[in-house]
Symmetry: C2
Subunit: 193 residues, 2 copies
């Protein structure tokens, strides 16, 4: 195990500070200056490591969702389990200690910054989910976006609008009910062929 | 055909005015007084017919979505077509001349007034979708909320966040891809039994 370098620790400190502030307030109300103050560094350093506030937001979202690592674990399972495992992983993440911050950011993306959320979903989530599939690029994108649509709907219905009984169903009940949908979008027939 | 009474015409005029204003601006910025002015009536009359602004909002949403009439047409089809037909009906409505107003209101419900949207979804949409099914109440609600979760996700991904390729897929391609999901939530196995 290597000790993280000083610059790596600074990066993580900035990400943590940004994550706390983005989760506690809306995107528009959080300034780079406030993030720098929270992290105990100079604003210039935040720009140096992360670019604009938009860039930092999508970085924090990726960091919170760590999609690469989590999706790698899902991809290592048999293909027939992907639907259930992807859903289980997503629910676990949203209900983990990091969940409230992630939920607040996704919610703020949907309501006030759809373009930022689109960048994150298309650039990070979809390319990684699509990467699990050995099919042509166009079909990959189509399958990934269908998966995304069911995830977004589950997220909004359960955590934002809180429609019952979905808001209080146990994660495993949701996996049983919705897992086959995700599975079909990933590996089933989606073009009526 | 009967001529609508004067009070019925006033009601419709208020609903139309409210629908225009709610679609053009956010819920918070629209006052009962502004709606009354737009409709050319006294504010007291708006309260008399519709109660609070919250009540008026859910009424306008129901009016725009006319779920009773549309769902009646779907329910009249063979049960195996319900998934595709429900989806087709929803997409047609969202892309009709009334679509932009309906989309703006749903979007504002998701981002700023989830409790109002919950009232509408639970009280109007879910009870009517559930009403198509001859199963116990609890299962009806569960099936209806699963349908709702896929609809909400499609709505947010296609019209709000505009994730490609979903944002530009033709309605019939969406019906082919997502229709079987809705069908399974309505009539298929959702409890792994």
């Amino acid at each position: 195990m290597t000790t993280p370098s000083k610059s790596e620790r600074t990066r993580v400190r900035i990400l943590d500070a940004a994550s706390r502030l983005f989760a506690a307030s809306s995107f528009d109300r959080v300034s780079i200056r406030a993030i720098a103050r929270e992290a105990g560094v100079d604003s210039a350093l935040v720009h140096h490591y992360f670019g604009t506030k938009d860039d930092l937001f999508t970085e924090v979202l990726s960091h919170a969702a760590t999609p690469a690592e989590l999706l790698g674990k899902v991809a290592a399972r048999p293909a027939d389990d992907w639907g259930a495992e992807l859903l289980r992983t997503g629910l676990r993440l949203l209900e983990s200690p990091a969940g409230p911050a992630l939920r607040a950011m996704l919610r703020s993306g949907i309501s006030s910054h759809p373009a930022l959320l689109r960048t994150f979903v298309e650039g990070q989530l979809m390319s990684r989910i699509g990467g699990m599939l050995s099919v042509p690029e166009e079909e990959r994108r189509r399958r990934a976006v269908l998966v995304g649509s069911q995830f977004v709907g589950l997220f909004v219905a359960r955590y934002v609008v809180r429609i019952e009984p979905l808001a209080s169903m146990a994660p495993e009940e949701i996996v049983t009910a919705i897992g086959p949908t995700i599975q079909r979008y990933l590996t089933g027939d989606i073009s009526g062929g």
